[in-house]
Amino acid sequence: MSLSRVLRSAFLVPLVVTAQTPQPLKSGIEFQSADVRALQADAFGNPGMLWVERGAALWNAPRGERNISCASCHGDATASMKGVAARYPAFLASLGRVANVEQRINACVVDNQKAVALPYESPELLALTAFRQSRGQPIAARADGAAAALLEEGARIYHRRQGQLNLACTSCHDASWGRTLLNEKVSQGHPADWPAYRFEWQALGSLERRLRACYFGVRAELPPYGSPDLLALQVYLAQRAAGLVSDPPGVRR
């Protein structure tokens, strides 16, 4: 039975677990060293918290032609935004498309605040996504209806060999998770705990930045930020990790 038929069958959509999907699901934090785990859990010292604090300030900062802040419409984020990011990527009827958190924020920035979209990986967009109020919550995105096509595309990309190293995501993160590559334990490749502070970057970065780094890892062309391929992958990864607790901002080596 082809993967595509498996995904299309009404019984199994949106269940995306294939024979290879790791069980039990383990967040990337479980494949980090003890001091990285301790730093992520450190509510004060986690460097990602600097972005969360900036995000909290930006939430209240007026922006754009309409000179309104996020708070002007959404009030107290801890109430209005609770659990929202955990459901992303999501199909948004108001936009007529599937969007991730960054794209959702920018839709508000452009359409409601009448401001210029915040560039990908800009300090402002990172801060606002880091300020998400879905911490310690299970990943709960839906990929039915209009998102189903993207889910299928994401599954295809995930299982497709690419790059000069000719590896698919599944080659490492399904077939070889837990095994040692050079000196690191290969993770299961879940989107939990993102956006995350990566020592490699010495900064907080988005999930898309991490996915692009994976493409670089196999020496494939990096898809641009906001590209359909990256969105499709995020839709698939969210389904593959459904139920896994995500606790951003994460810390990774």
Binding site: F44, M49, A203
Partner: protein, 106 residues
Amino acid sequence: MLLGRIQVPPSVRRGEAFEVRILVEHPMETGFRRDMNGQSIPVYIVNKLSCRYAGYEVFSAELGTGMSANPYMAFFAVAESSGEVAVEWSDDRGATGRVTAMLNVT
């Protein structure tokens, strides 16, 4: 103003040593990195930090490029009286930052 975070214990007994934790937002550029076009990225670091409490400078530091980005430090001070613990820092371009916390001494 540069962004920073400070943490002190919720309360401490007079005469006890308490830990002050500080986290500063800064890239701490070493001057050794290069960008995509081969251009070197200039040095840019927080080079001085100090903490004042109860009328004394209880801690200070000179930092180099060997400190991690977004520098973190924790140090101790003796609790004397309830009051403000203030940490100030500056970088090599003259920008400064300051964070304070109220310490409750019983």
